[in-house]
């Protein structure tokens, strides 16, 4: 059967339907006004759990069963444990053993450690992935081996799809470095600290059922809570949610390549001379070797000129933390943390603020990139 396509505003022919669900072709910048709802999915009620607020169940399998795991459900996870994630694969291992078929995995990103999911794509447990697909997982998808059609979603686009009901999450399984029995959770503390878990916000607010998985159960209240227990159905305690040295790098390093350092140096001085870099600038810095080096040169310029960045938007690294600590940056608004210095900073410094990606990069949020004195690199 031929696929029905339509010409979008960028002049491309795109399908009107993917995986049996309608999709909206690009209409042009500012033309689409999505209708997100602030309510819709069921929220747990106090009669659902014991009077003492303890939602702990003994295993992830039990939690999945209680959530009513069945064929064709959409299961979401976040990627804050990066390449050290031990939770996502476990979900599909259990689902496969339980004989569940045709699940949709909806991660905020995937890493090489998630390659075992290929096995569950092969045996039919998982029908498709909607999210990012890299490395061997990406190759598997590119080779057309996945049963469903892959949908690649940007971080912001993913949140918007959840808010607007384009993707309905049946069960969100959210790993948390610290959590209390009521389900309040955060990205710091414990052996698997990853700094922040802001990518999980849309998931815990909009999923029909929410499971928090932790290896560090703390007394109520787990504060400051990034996941609010009110929205959580079950809490599972496991030995280990992640492999610490694969979650954040011990230290992020700027490039040592002289050519790349030169590119970084020239970029920073271009930003200065073109007037883009100025007092009160808001900025974002990547975690790659060259962009980190740009951050170092930019920091030098800020220092020499006596300028201060209003805020930096994380992914944070030690180089941004240095700007904050040495007074060249007012705040770090942080959606994800890349190294141990940043984990330390977010625990210690009140001006280093967890800032869910929920609040950026999509139709319903503050558009940092479009703001007139902002820039990204």
């Amino acid at each position: 059967m031929p696929i029905k396509t339509v010409k979008n505003a960028a002049g491309r022919f795109v399908p009107l339907e993917i995986n049996g669900q309608p999709v909206i072709p690009f209409k042009g910048v500012g033309k689409h006004k999505p209708g997100g709802r602030k309510y819709a999915p069921p929220v747990p009620t106090c009669s659902d759990y014991p009077d003492d607020g303890n939602k702990v169940v003994s295993t992830l399998e039990e939690a999945l069963r209680k959530c009513g795991l069945c064929d064709g459900m959409t299961i979401s996870t976040h990627h804050h444990l990066r390449d050290g994630d031990l939770v996502s694969n476990k979900i599909f291992e259990l689902a496969s053993a339980m004989g569940t078929k045709g699940l949709v995995w909806f991660p905020s990103a995937s890493f090489p450690c998630n390659d075992p999911v290929i096995r569950y794509l092969d045996d039919g447990t998982v029908n498709r992935i909607e999210g990012s697909m890299n490395g061997p997982l990406g190759r598997y998808v590119s080779e057309g081996k996945m049963e469903g059609t892959a949908v690649l979603r940007s971080h912001g686009g993913r949140v918007q799809a959840i808010q607007d009901g384009e993707v309905k999450i049946d069960i969100a399984v959210l790993a948390a470095p610290s959590a209390d029995p009521f389900g309040n959770a955060k990205g710091t503390g414990g052996p698997s600290a990853c700094g922040v878990i802001g990518y999980a916000k849309a998931d815990y607010m909009y999923a029909s059922k929410v499971i928090v998985v932790t290896d560090n159960l703390v007394d109520f209240p787990c504060f400051p809570m990034e996941i609010e227990g009110t929205y959580v159905d079950y809490v599972v305690v496991v030995d280990k949610i992640g492999i610490p040295d694969k979650i954040v790098s011990g230290t992020t390093q700027i490039t040592r390549s002289p050519d790349r350092l030169l590119i970084a140096d020239l970029t920073a001085s271009f930003l200065e001379k073109s007037g883009i870099l100025k007092d009160g600038i808001t900025m974002q810095a990547g975690a790659g070797g060259t962009s980190l080096a740009i951050a170092v040169f930019v920091h030098e310029i800020l220092k020499n000129k006596g300028w201060k960045s209003k805020f930096g938007f994380g992914g944070s690294t030690k180089y941004m933390v240095k700007m904050l600590e040495e007074g060249q940056m007012g705040y770090i608004l942080d959606a994800q943390v890349f190294d141990l210095d940043s984990v330390r900073s977010i625990e210690e410094n009140v001006n280093h603020i967890p800032y869910p990606v929920f609040n950026a990069y999509n139709y319903h949020s503050y558009q940092h990139d479009g703001y007139n004195d902002s820039w990204c690199y």
Binding site: R256, P258, D259, L261, L262
Partner: protein, 409 residues
């Protein structure tokens, strides 16, 4: 039995922008070329054409060629092929890639030589982008950075690099080997516009004269008008003792450098960060160079990762009177250049002194005073030197006096 298989160049997991060529001469069967390269689809044809052209020049009709390529540019492929051929055939022929006209510039005696970047003569990957980093000079090194077994192929590679790589206006330098081998090196490089020759482990003015004579002969033969300057490197106790004579060894000596690794080895002492063991030698070189009205140039700083230590080292070096330093990594260049250039406070102080001197001269006063301090003529001369340097480095404008005055008013 006559050798009929030769290998030239480099390959391996860490090698980039190079190739290894195996050449086997045959008695029949024509030319077969076996190419292993990531860019074979894009450049396979042109690589094979180049190899055929070179074999043709040297009159080779039957051979097996195996090329393991890691992204070699044509001048590298040509150099490796020529090296392999010359291991098997005795010939005076050369396969010369086109000489880029942009490379045909000369330099002056007085130009700054704050930073000069060493490039190993047999590592093409480090040469290609070297000109981007704005070093005052680029040194293609045939001496210590080249393994003894690779000396021949480095000569051909350096020759081709001089013809094909643009160093963006940096002074084009070559460090030759010691003794007879060094004199032979000159045949490979002088015809291809070298601005300056570094003479390593120089111990006598006689050797400087020998180098000078050899360069003269080659320049005459190839009708070269651009000047070739000399920078002897003093690396032994004997060299230090003879440094003033070496500095005067030829009119073309424009700088005297010191090499501390070999010098400390000659003394039988360890080289330290503080450098007390070489203080005498360094000062002696500075004095010899200044007496001969040439530039004293300091030894390289070998801890590439430690920028702060390099900064301190440059500070000391400048304070001793040196006017430049070698670099073994591009990231040292800006640190060294900034370190040797006059800083803001030096410039401001010098401006005040020179202006006070001008005032006094206008008023016909014999004595210059700045505030309550008397200023001696040598102090004025030094201030003027710093001002000249700052102007020529574009740190202040040539019209600085009027600019300072307008600010004061």
């Amino acid at each position: 039995m006559k050798k009929n298989i030769a290998v030239a160049g480099n390959s391996g997991p860490k090698v980039r922008s190079d190739c290894e060529i195996l050449l086997e001469l045959k008695s029949d069967g024509g030319i077969t070329i076996d190419l292993i390269s990531k860019v074979k689809v894009l450049y396979g044809e042109s690589i094979k054409n180049l190899i055929n052209e070179i074999l043709d020049l040297f009159g080779i009709e039957h051979a097996r060629v195996k090329i393991t390529d890691t992204g070699a540019l044509p001048f590298v492929l040509a150099a490796r092929m020529e090296s392999a051929i010359k291991q098997l055939i005795s010939t005076d022929l050369e396969y010369l890639p086109e000489f880029l006209t942009i490379n045909n510039y000369s330099t002056t005696r007085e130009r700054f030589r704050f930073s000069r970047l060493y490039l190993p003569g047999n590592a093409p990957g480090l040469m290609i982008n070297a000109g981007l980093h704005s070093a005052d000079g680029i040194i293609l090194d045939l001496e210590d950075s080249v393994a003894p077994s690779k000396k021949d192929e480095a000569r051909i590679l350096v020759r081709n690099a001089l013809r094909q790589i643009s160093f963006n206006g940096a002074e084009r330098m070559v460090r030759i080997n010691q003794g007879e081998m060094g004199l032979e090196d000159l045949n490979f490089v002088i015809p291809h516009n070298v601005n300056l020759i570094l003479i390593p482990k120089c111990e006598s003015p006689e050797y400087v004269k020998q180098v000078e004579r050899k360069i003269g002969t080659i320049r005459k033969k190839f009708n070269i008008s651009n000047q070739v300057y000399l920078m002897p490197i003093i690396e032994s106790a004997l060299g230090v003792e003879n440094s003033f004579d070496i500095a005067l060894g030829s009119d073309n000596v424009v700088a005297l450098a010191i090499g501390l690794e070999d010098y400390t080895a000659d003394l039988g002492v360890a080289r330290t960060i503080e450098g007390n063991e070489s203080l005498y030698a360094r000062s002696r070189i500075v004095v010899a160079a200044k007496a001969a009205r040439i530039q004293p140039i300091d030894s390289v700083f070998s801890d590439v990762a430690d920028t702060d230590a390099l900064k301190n080292n440059v500070k000391t070096s400048k304070a001793l009177g040196f006017e430049g330093m070698g670099c073994i990594h591009p990231r040292q260049i800006s640190v060294i250049k900034q370190g040797f250039a006059p800083d803001r406070s030096e410039i401001e102080k010098s401006e005040k002194i020179v202006m006070a001197f001008e005032e006094a001269r206008k008023k016909g006063l014999g004595v210059v005073a700045l505030g309550s301090k008397m200023i001696d003529p040598p102090v004025v001369a030094r201030a003027q030197k710093i001002i000249d340097l700052a102007v020529s480095l574009n740190l202040i404008s040539g019209d600085w006096i009027n600019e300072v005055r307008s600010l004061e008013n």
